[in-house]
Amino acid sequence: MSVRFAYPLRPLVAILAVTMTFVALACGGEEEAAAPAATSAPVATSAPAPATTAPLPQATEAPAAADTSDAAAEPAATAAPAAAATEAPVAAVVADYRDDWINFLKQHKGYKAEWGEPTYGGIIKTADPRPASRFQSTLGYSAFSRWQFAAHNSLLFMDPWGTIRDAPVCDLCESYEISADGLKYTFKLRENVQFHSEGWAKDQGAPGFGTELACEDIKASIEWFANPPPETRASYIKFGNTIMGHLDEATCPDGMSGKTVVLNFSKYRNATIYWLAAGFAVWDKEYREWMDAEYPGVQSTANPEGYMINMGTGPQIPLSADSQTVMKVRKNPNYFIPGAPFADGFDTFAIQDYNTKFAALVTGKIHQAGHGSSGITKAQVKQVQDSYADIIELQIVRYNHISGVRMNNLIPPFDKWEVRWAVQIALDRMDWDDFMTVGDVKMSNPAYYLHIDSGWGKPASEFMKTKGWNPETKDADIAEANALLDGVFGAGVRPKTDQYVIQLLSRREISVWAIDFFKKYLNWEFDVKYVDTYGNIATDCLYTIRAEANPNPNKQVYASDPSDAFWGVHSEWTTSEKCLHTGWKGDGEASADELAKVNGWVEDLDTNLDQAKRLELARKIEAYLVEERSTAAILGVMNVAWPNRWELKGNRYYNLGTYSQQRLHDRLWLNEG
């Protein structure tokens, strides 16, 4: 370049040089921000309680958690419900020993030696794939509520290091008894359990801070649970009525400030004990009254006040809330378990972009990225296996969702049973299984509606002989399906209809696979419509066919009992969409007699004391739903990949991971060693 040209270019070169300096600054300045929070975390802030070797609670004697082998699921399938139900109505005492929290955890069967010694301090950072849409901590169970329960305890809970088949264990109670007829539950409460001494509402003059837990608090909380005030969102009222409406009365035989609570129910229901352990939050009576008066219905939306107002006995106290960005809780210094919790707090970030979330995990900005049906993508699972196994622990959890293709029996062409049945038998579950396999990780497991880990579902070995599932007869099944479709539509004719897909990862994968499968094996193409949410497409039965991964009509979100699973099948009890409970082995809607038949089964399942009969009933209903109703072609249990940084210790999930039960806040710690 000549000097003549070089001279006038100097300003331009200078501009570019300055820009490069900015780039260098941007990258260099990030170093500090990128450092994982955990590096400064594990500083001891308080000593654990003196060591006293205590016997383990009942839960620790149950089978170890996270046993993902099919062999483990099968033999127990018949035993589990029998054990659970014969225990329940008979008097039972569940003791709990947590005088030495660290030793208790170290003796727990769920404890892993590689976790090392629990350490104190640090903020545990986690991510949600979308901002919370509600803050109902008592009734609004969802993936979001998991982090809200840090502020609360329940009477009972499911041991998060146990398995879903374990009996619920005491949380705020010392022990409990159930009368032989299953109508009377008596709880002895723990001594010296205090409500939070600090909190958002304290400056506003809210009562109850620092007071001791008493019977009146349980009574007020359970009565609120069973019959929420009218300002509460109607769906929550319905939910409370549905699962606790059979509560006759809650009494305090030792007085309102006593430690004995008696719950009297009008009828025995198998799932009651599980619902009580599902995360039902205990509030201070006066605080709850103040809250309902000053902020009626505040937890019906995602307004930050609905989060900040959480005040209970739990290990963490809300610090700040912005549902769009981050929600924070900080350690309760007066938590009733000496030596717990370990972490100074939790920050939960809403990270909508899957790529950004994964990057945050890899670079240590968050410690955990598992949430509901959205963990990390299959491609990211592969990346972890290939490149980040040394910094990220991959937890593959059998989730409570069942993947499948929903067909609306109220809209052609799926109003014809033959069409639904053709789809049911045609889908190649082995092909789906391959599609959902990443390296040695399987993201799907054979199942109908009853989760294999619940102990009620059909064993995998039986599944593989079932029509539509048997790989040896798959070609014949597909041929039969095509013949059925030819019979309905004409030879080779397939109607062009709408297929709906929502953008959630768990639905997208089903859809991508199904669109290809339909085209390839049934010569059937759809107009695919992508939407942000199914919304009224689902509730008003406007869809023709859609990918789905939520458990409806089974409700294992809340309990492991099958009466909970089949709640949505009962045509009078359920309020879910009509197209989910009016299908039958014929065209259009089922007759009243047909519906009454199924309703009878569900009612019997709900209250029957004979567990063998219940197992038979559960499988009969399940078979009916698949083979006769056939409004959903089931693909199997969905596995989720919930990864966490290795420095996050104590984090484990039982299969059939549920939303609120997995309460880990008092037993997670950060340890870089």
């Binding site: 609004g140 909508q352 990057a359 939407v531």
Partner: protein
């Protein structure tokens, strides 16, 4: 001039009204329902009566024209109401998020101009050289590669090779200038790269055209220094069409913020829009879209007005 301005303001107003009608209608005919979101999604327990009650509480059972007129009335009286999902007032939220988006937009324009104009001049001065071809390919890349893709690639490369990922918590410029700069640099660079491409290419072509003008030859013949000819005579005249594009960039950057703010965790108007759209939060989405469209209309108006000031030959009244 005044008559022209009034006419443009009137047309801008009509455009905003049209946009508001389109958004209002689209939100209501598209699949999805805020009532379902509030009631907890498709697997929630609720009856048609419950749904209807909530619809009534939210005023969604009124005739659509009534709902629309109410919304527009509220918008123009700055009574923007509250979110259906959060129960939070809309205006305070916009007030909180607007500076984030303005900062991103400002930095984007800065990048676009800072790179686009010098690169365009450089390409013109070095026409058909290797440098010209290289810069043309680079700017063509800016036009061809969407910013959400380049943003994703930046995060992937940052993660895989530099252990870098976007900061998760927003930090204000006044609290931590460097932290704030770090947060905004890459999203602004991504958007800026896209925007600079048009400026660079436009600058190149107008500069080439001007450099061939007689008065440039005359300036050289007079013995003026090369730099003076280029910067004072050629570049000044070549800039006018580019200024128009810069104005359009200012208007459009606010739209580009939707993706970048989501990917780079910036709590601005763009991510607020995504947040509200996924919840079918009608009042918020309608208000934001109307706000965005008003922004674009006003910016375009200002660009048109600036022509007369930049180029005295432009006359509006004729």
């Amino acid at each position: 001039m005044a008559q022209y301005a009034l006419r443009r303001i009137f047309l801008g107003f009509l455009t905003a009204i049209l946009v508001s009608i389109i958004v209002f209608v689209i939100l209501r005919i598209a699949p999805g329902d805020v009532v379902d979101i509030i009631l907890g999604g498709e697997d929630a327990f609720y009856s048609p009566e419950t749904e209807e009650l909530l619809r009534e509480q939210l005023g969604l059972n009124r005739p659509l024209p009534v709902q629309y007129l109410d919304f527009m009335g509220d918008f123009f009286t700055l009574n923007w109401g509250e979110s259906l999902v959060d129960s939070k007032e809309i205006w305070p939220q916009i007030k909180e998020k607007l500076p984030v988006t303005l900062e991103l937009a400002g930095l984007t324009v800065f990048f676009a101009v800072f790179f686009g104009i010098p690169v365009g001049v450089l390409m013109a001065l070095q026409q058909d050289s290797k440098l010209d071809y290289f810069l043309r390919i680079m700017s063509l890349g800016g036009l061809s590669i969407p910013s959400f893709w380049s943003g994703t690639i930046i995060i992937l490369v940052g993660t895989m090779y530099f252990n870098w990922s976007p900061r998760l918590e927003y930090v204000s410029f006044f609290d931590d200038p460097m932290g704030n700069f770090v947060m905004f640099f890459w999203p602004a660079a991504c958007n800026g790269w896209v925007s600079q491409a048009t400026k660079a290419r436009m600058m190149r072509s107008t500069m080439l055209e001007v450099l061939r003008q007689d008065y440039i030859r005359t300036a050289h013949a007079k013995g003026l220094r090369y730099a003076v000819v280029v910067y004072r005579h050629a570049m000044k005249n070549a800039l006018l069409p580019v200024v128009t594009i810069i104005g359009i960039t200012v208007a459009l950057t606010i739209g580009g913020s939707v993706i970048m703010e989501t990917v780079f965790m910036l709590p601005g108007m763009g991510s607020f829009m995504v947040y509200s759209l996924t919840r079918w939060d009608y009042p918020v989405v309608q208000t934001l879209v109307l706000f965005f469209s008003s922004w674009i209309v006003i910016t375009n108006l200002l660009i048109d007005m600036s022509y007369g000031w930049l180029d005295p030959r432009v006359r509006y009244d004729s």
